[in-house]
Symmetry: C2
Subunit: 156 residues, 2 copies
DNA sequence: TTAGGTGCAAAGGATTTGCGGAATT
DNA sequence: AATTCCGCAAATCCTTTGCACCTAA
């Protein structure tokens, strides 16, 4: 069967080789935000005759075509996700690196106002929250006690 | 005279060499967000016997000491600015690359609420706006007309 | 004196690219 | 058949590091 990303590739007039089909499938099935290395691993598991250079070329091409979006969550490597129509931002768990998506419709208007105030039209924005998982109530009390003694500064 | 950053270095117990003093001065005088290459250029102009490796080592050290903050505005290279107490975010002019700072105190509470709702405590965040300079009123009308005909999508 | 800094050049990690051969349209 | 793509290895770009030599404290 034809994956969603593959369909988009065809619409854009891209030549569909076996490798590209595999990469498209991996991307279509991904629910996370894999980096190139990870995409390569997943693609190679389905078809061993794929090189990482091809993966790099594919994500670059798909980004140019607007099918993929490149993200940078720190850590030096780019991460990718399929372009969606519903805009969303990301919260990164600083302990595990896990990424949670959320929508912030309520804020876009506020951001536009800020930009306008500075003399700009808002074209796009990047909002990332870095957080730490909250513990259950009992444990949370202990954490609060600890914090009162030695408050931790903002991390990064 | 002793620059502001140099004073902070001394407070942190760093050994003040000639190179480091020069870099501290360049940083103290910067009002923008230079990358390492640019810092190197400015420092070398004051003291030719500085190597770029030293600049890399200095910014890394100063970041660890909390004197500098590393920024990533895309483009592959890190950019630096002195740590300030008033928290601020950035608006990047997509046409010129110029960076404008603004404060967003009003939003922090809202961001905390979002994080909590997702089960996290907010540790820090990154907010960047990408915008385009607004034109004067007469010209703006023309732009609006144009937009009504062919609305432009969110850029990147 | 000595712990820490510096320059240089080599090493690293992520990403791109030149090239001859291969697969798609 | 023409165009586009692929694998491989070499090349690039930004950043870090090993080593032998300085220098602030």
């Amino acid at each position: 069967m034809e994956s969603r990303i593959e369909r988009l590739c065809v619409e854009k007039g891209l030549k569909m080789t076996g490798q590209r089909r595999t990469i498209a499938r991996v991307l279509s099935e991904a629910t996370d935000h894999p980096d190139v290395e990870e995409l390569y691993r997943r693609a190679a598991a389905l078809d061993a005759r794929i090189s990482i250079a091809t993966v790099y070329r594919a994500v670059r091409l798909l980004e140019e075509k607007g099918i993929l979006e490149r993200r940078d969550f720190g850590g030096g490597r780019a991460r990718y996700e399929p372009t969606e129509h519903g805009r969303h931002d990301h919260l990164i768990d600083i302990d595990t690196g896990r990424v949670v998506e959320f929508t912030d419709d309520a804020h876009v208007a506020a951001l536009q106002a800020i930009a306008r105030q500075l003399g700009f039209d808002l074209v796009s924005h990047r909002l990332e929250l870095f957080g730490r998982r909250r513990r259950p109530a009992t444990e949370r009390r202990a954490v609060a006690d600890e914090a009162r003694t030695a408050p931790r500064g903002p991390a990064r």
